[in-house]
Subunit: 391 residues, 2 copies
Amino acid sequence: MRDLAILSRGAMLVRHGRIQAVGSRAEIETLVSPQTRLVDAGGRVVLPGFVDAHTHPVFAGTRADEYELRAQGATYAEIAARGGGIRSTVRRTRAATEDELMDSARRYRQWFLRGGTTTVEAKSGYGLSLEAECKILRAIHRLGQEGSVRYVPTFLGAHEVPDEFRGRMDDYIALLIREMLPRVAREHLAEYCDVFCEPSVFPAAQARVILAAAKSLGFGLRLHADQFTPDEGALLAAELGADTADHLEATGPAGLEALRAAGVQPVLLPASVYNLGSPRYPAARQMIDAGLPVVLATDFNPGSSPTTSMPLVLSLASTQMKMTPAEAVTAATINAAHSLRQGHEIGSLEPGKFADFAIHDAADYRDLAYFFGRDTARAVYIGGVPAYQAE
Amino acid sequence: MRDLAILSRGAMLVRHGRIQAVGSRAEIETLVSPQTRLVDAGGRVVLPGFVDAHTHPVFAGTRADEYELRAQGATYAEIAARGGGIRSTVRRTRAATEDELMDSARRYRQWFLRGGTTTVEAKSGYGLSLEAECKILRAIHRLGQEGSVRYVPTFLGAHEVPDEFRGRMDDYIALLIREMLPRVAREHLAEYCDVFCEPSVFPAAQARVILAAAKSLGFGLRLHADQFTPDEGALLAAELGADTADHLEATGPAGLEALRAAGVQPVLLPASVYNLGSPRYPAARQMIDAGLPVVLATDFNPGSSPTTSMPLVLSLASTQMKMTPAEAVTAATINAAHSLRQGHEIGSLEPGKFADFAIHDAADYRDLAYFFGRDTARAVYIGGVPAYQAE
């Protein structure tokens, strides 16, 4: 993860949306034709577009009011117990039209671009009914079709038990398995299925039933695992052969060993740890030292992590989790691409892959984490097409 | 600090660089003439420009290499002991020309604008010789004269003991008092004098001598106080009637009470705490509850805090120090302006003050901290003149 294969004074030839050649400027100049359009990065760092492998980018409203309550000392759990948290966003998202959801999601898409992100794993989970979940997944598809960022859709119907099923979790799980999952599969609305596995949300026994049903329908599996409570989630992810186990703030040695043995990728979300004011970051150093192919993502969502910034996640990785800047870049690009089964298409600048890249306001790749708290991208290209240009 | 006097659907009339009237849109529309140029904020939040009351924005090179070492486990103190830290930036800054320093400082000035900052307190302190300190202070003056951000210069010759005076601190203090301070005063190169007061840098006894000399020459006083060690710095700031005591991560009840009794403003720098990976934030809540007019600043510098982002500082204030979003805005605007003796000119949008303001990509002022890790300003005006416009 520390070997970035950096090319100084490099160049890249792009054709039909894909990278045709990468090399020294002199090498690439021998390949250009009079029709080739030249883009001068001006000595700046060019990186593969960030692959943000865990986000919740389609929702209505904000939760700035709860943010203010937390600044006054309320905890995330207290706010959720009062009907706030995920359930308050569900109420507003159900009431919104698909077009209204598109409008806010397009604004956030622009923010993703400013941070140099070109692919976003996008979860549903603020609908929690057949129609509202499908509305969100359709919005995710439309966002992707508009072309300026790639979206990978994940069905997260098991994000929370909705208000009308309070105390009847099994009935909601029956709805998930009998109606929602088959419909999402039939209409090809999602590639992955995710469950918020946590004793206070969906305990492992219940999560297992949902994920097993999803797996039998052909979904890849991702889990919200061990955010607050150790090991149940990581062990379940390993047992089911999930592609990823995400969060892992509470995971202990047994959980880590299970992930390693089963080949499950850890997706770490330090921005939500930071934003909740928690001191407990996941054990990134131990995971990397154990050979786990760690992924970094924003967890963009209106509650625990309202940030779209992969550069800030790189900063959090280095300052709070002691990952080197190189490890953080690997985790945010090629490792993340593999976690979405797209390592052959995106995540690095290699011949044959999509020409998804960003020109950053930086002379050294380490400056993205080092000069923290800013939008670093000056220009972003997706499939060789300009998607963003700064002032 | 929680009362922001928010105007919904408000408007503002600007003339000759100053605010002439603030009120409802209907009220202001009765005052416009056919020659008035209209700027539509489009329903976005308009805030006074941030006043960043503690920065070190003129230096050569970066310290991304030390950043990488810290990510691998080295401490700030270990790096300094090996000749890194402030002294490595001093070596490079001495070798740079004034124009080279201007070039990098202009880049950072653009970053300040993207975060909505319009006034920057700017310290010297990477020269540590008569000529190199004057070179930095002249650069700060030129930056201010260019007009797109206001700079308030502070002389920080006592930032560190330079290499050639190692083991001879008293000789360096003699140079500071006999040559550097009188020259800076005579040429009007700085309004304030600051000293890094810390047992391992300039202990209180030595800091007192320097600051007393500065005070007798008419400088206002600011102190780096109690960053690592309790109360010496805060007590000295109180004793000397300094305008501010900055950092205060280690200050205890005795130090806080001394600041309160003496009317010294605390300047809190949570971005450096974050970036050094320390869990010890200053006791903002206790200070505010004790009635202290707290200020927030970035501490922008190439070592401990390479960020220019006041929006990120607002986020740190709310998530790590439990300040409300309103308290954080007050600390970053009007309280900061008063700490620079400019509360009558800047820091709020009131008739008679300079028209220094930013239009932010936000529908609610709380969104600046809530949607964290991005450049929030869409347009910035200084003295009524456009200084920045986003894509």
